[in-house]
């Protein structure tokens, strides 16, 4: 409509002094910046600053109350030779394996069955499978402690009922780690199944029909169509399970206590970090453990990412 290209004031100025106009543009949007700023302020104060601060703390000797003293790399040196630290790393990985593999396998099976054309009451099934996920882990750990109890445990009752020997679940590494892993499996299988189901439903049915016409078996279409197309979703579940698995805390803490139970077999990395900081008051050392954990998670996630990307 307007025919005044030459003297059109704002655009002209913008052409001449882009920087100036940028700040003007920003000033005009000040309400928008005000709207997004709470997040950045909170992140700076409660996210970024603590991380930098933890680097500083990891170089100090400090009990949280008295004076700090510079400790150089001693905390890190101690950490790499600390058997309990490495045990907690090992336990975390073992529990991760015990939980993630059965969990994702079961989730895939459930999703595959739920996606079948014959299934009715699909949404009722989904709700029932998802229910464990909204329960607090503290409650789950309390319930499971009665299932895995050494004496009078529900599981031991079932074992003896079918003529097997009862097992002192909380007295040896495999028992404790299985108990912890089973809580993870119970709580997260349904969640992952729902994610897989959504992935399955986004695969066009024509692909399966075409495969059927070409004479493909169910197994063939599962491995040639379902798995490849589900790849990004599988990757998502592996990544989230890895992050969750590396951060395991509540399950072992409530089930076997701050020391990780008999022989520290339920001691996970975060539980160790928690114990060193808030039970033993080694704030400096706990910060170093935090960084050790961070490095391990990054390396492990990277490894995980490459393997899953290639295989899936």
């Amino acid at each position: 409509m307007q025919q005044t290209p030459i003297v059109s004031n704002p655009s002209n100025r913008a052409a001449l002094r882009p920087e100036h106009s940028r700040w003007r543009e920003a000033w005009k949007n000040r309400a928008v910046y005000a709207a997004i700023s709470p997040f950045y302020i909170l992140f700076a104060v409660f996210g970024l600053f603590p991380i930098l601060f933890s680097l500083y703390l990891s170089l100090q000797k400090w009990d949280g109350i008295g004076t700090m003293s510079y400790n150089g790399l001693n905390n890190f040196q101690y950490m790499v030779t600390d058997p309990l630290f490495w045990q907690s790393v090992g336990n975390t990985f073992v529990i991760w394996i015990y939980s993630t593999i059965p969990m994702l396998f079961l989730a895939l099976v459930i999703a595959f069955l739920l996606n079948s054309a014959f299934v009715r009451f699909r949404s009722a099934y989904r709700i029932a499978y998802f229910l464990p996920n909204v329960t607090s882990i503290v409650a789950v750990a309390i319930i499971f402690s009665t299932v895995f109890a050494n004496k009078y445990g529900l599981l031991n009752y079932m074992l003896t009922a079918v003529g097997l020997n009862s097992v002192q679940w909380l007295n040896f590494p495999f028992g404790i780690q299985t108990a912890i892993a089973s809580m993870v499996v119970w709580r997260w299988t349904g969640y992952n199944a729902i994610i897989y189901l959504a992935g399955l439903q986004s695969i066009p049915s024509q692909l399966y029909e075409a495969a059927k016409i070409d004479g493909a078996s169910t197994a063939q279409s599962f491995f040639r169509i379902t798995i490849p197309l589900l790849r990004p979703v599988i990757l998502f579940t592996v990544i989230t399970s890895t992050i969750g698995g590396m951060q395991l805390f509540t399950e072992p803490q409530v089930l076997v206590g701050n020391d990780g139970g008999v022989g520290n077999n339920g001691m996970t990395i975060v539980l160790y970090l928690y114990r060193e900081a808030f039970v033993n008051n080694y704030f400096g050392y706990a910060s170093a453990v935090g960084w050790g954990m961070f490095v391990i998670i990054v390396l492990f996630s990277a490894l995980n990412w490459t393997i899953t990307k290639e295989r899936a």
Binding site: A31, L42, L48, F118, L131, A141, I142, I143, Y274
Partner: protein, 275 residues
């Protein structure tokens, strides 16, 4: 189609078995909370409800200040949820519907913060709270989390498509500023996205354990999860009482979940599958 019938039967059998496994611990919890502790030590275990629920609940009330813990949890969860909904929707709306300098780098920073592991900063965060004098206070539980990247991202995704540009420009012509456009035009349209974010935030706040365990040092301030863990630790032998307490703490959330479950599950699935 006889083979189809058999197939369907088998399929449902497996699925029902899975449902039993996933629901059984809740049933077991409910049964145990109605039994005496000595009942629980009897073989075979009692699989049907007893008559001691009131007794057990009574002992829960004697051992921990259950109502206090309940209302503490409710308070923290409700306030957190309201604040998250407000700040996240405000920022999400801004990112979805406004062009402004440095928008892209700011948004990338927002996404990048989701990768920052929380446990790394557990110790310094506690030190900061101590410096602020927030240890033992609900402020420490509520304020750091009141605007989060996930929620902003979620609202932005939804608002981009759901809030019509025509409505916004019409509002602008009527002289509405940013806040009016947010409050009067955008917020009503964002309701489904807010419902999910609200339920998600509420459930997480209700179940949070590690941070409250570190921050809350006075029993009168305990949230349910912390109070429950104390109950479990101290009264190790009185299992039926511990179970009754656990049952009471879990029940409200399950009821809430059953109300919102359909949409909630659909949203969780959509969020994960969309790239």
């Amino acid at each position: 189609m006889k083979s189809n019938g058999v197939k369907t039967m088998g399929l449902h059998l497996v699925l029902v078995l899975g449902v039993l496994l996933s629901v059984f611990p809740f049933y077991w919890l409910a049964v145990m909370s109605t039994r005496t502790t000595s009942d629980l030590y009897k073989f075979p275990p009692k699989m049907w409800f007893g008559t001691h629920f009131a007794d057990n609940v009574h002992r829960v009330f004697q051992s921990i200040d259950f109502f206090h813990a309940f209302f503490n949890t409710l308070f923290v969860a409700v306030v957190s949820t309201v604040l998250v909904l407000f700040f996240d929707s405000l920022a999400g709306f801004a990112f979805a519907k406004y062009e402004f300098p440095w928008k892209k780098p700011l948004f990338i920073i927002l996404l990048a913060t989701m990768m920052v592991p929380g446990q790394l900063s557990l110790v310094p965060s506690f030190v900061i709270m101590a410096t602020f004098g927030w240890v033992g206070s609900f402020k420490a539980l509520i304020i750091p989390g009141m605007a989060n990247a996930f929620g902003i991202f979620w609202i932005r995704q939804y608002a981009t498509g759901a809030v019509p540009d025509e409505l916004l420009s019409a509002g602008r012509m009527d002289g509405c500023g940013f806040f009016r456009l947010y409050w009067n035009v955008s917020l009503p349209v964002l309701r489904p996205a807010l419902a999910f974010l609200g339920a998600f935030t509420f459930i997480n706040a209700w179940n949070d354990y590690l941070w409250p365990l570190i921050i809350l040092n006075d029993a009168s301030k305990y949230t349910l999860q912390v109070a429950l863990s104390q109950l479990n630790g101290i009264y190790n032998t009185d299992y039926s009482m511990v179970m009754a307490g656990t049952f009471l703490a879990v029940l409200p959330l399950i009821v809430l979940f059953l109300f919102v479950s359909r949409q909630f599950i659909a949203d969780i699935a959509a969020g994960a599958v969309k790239d």
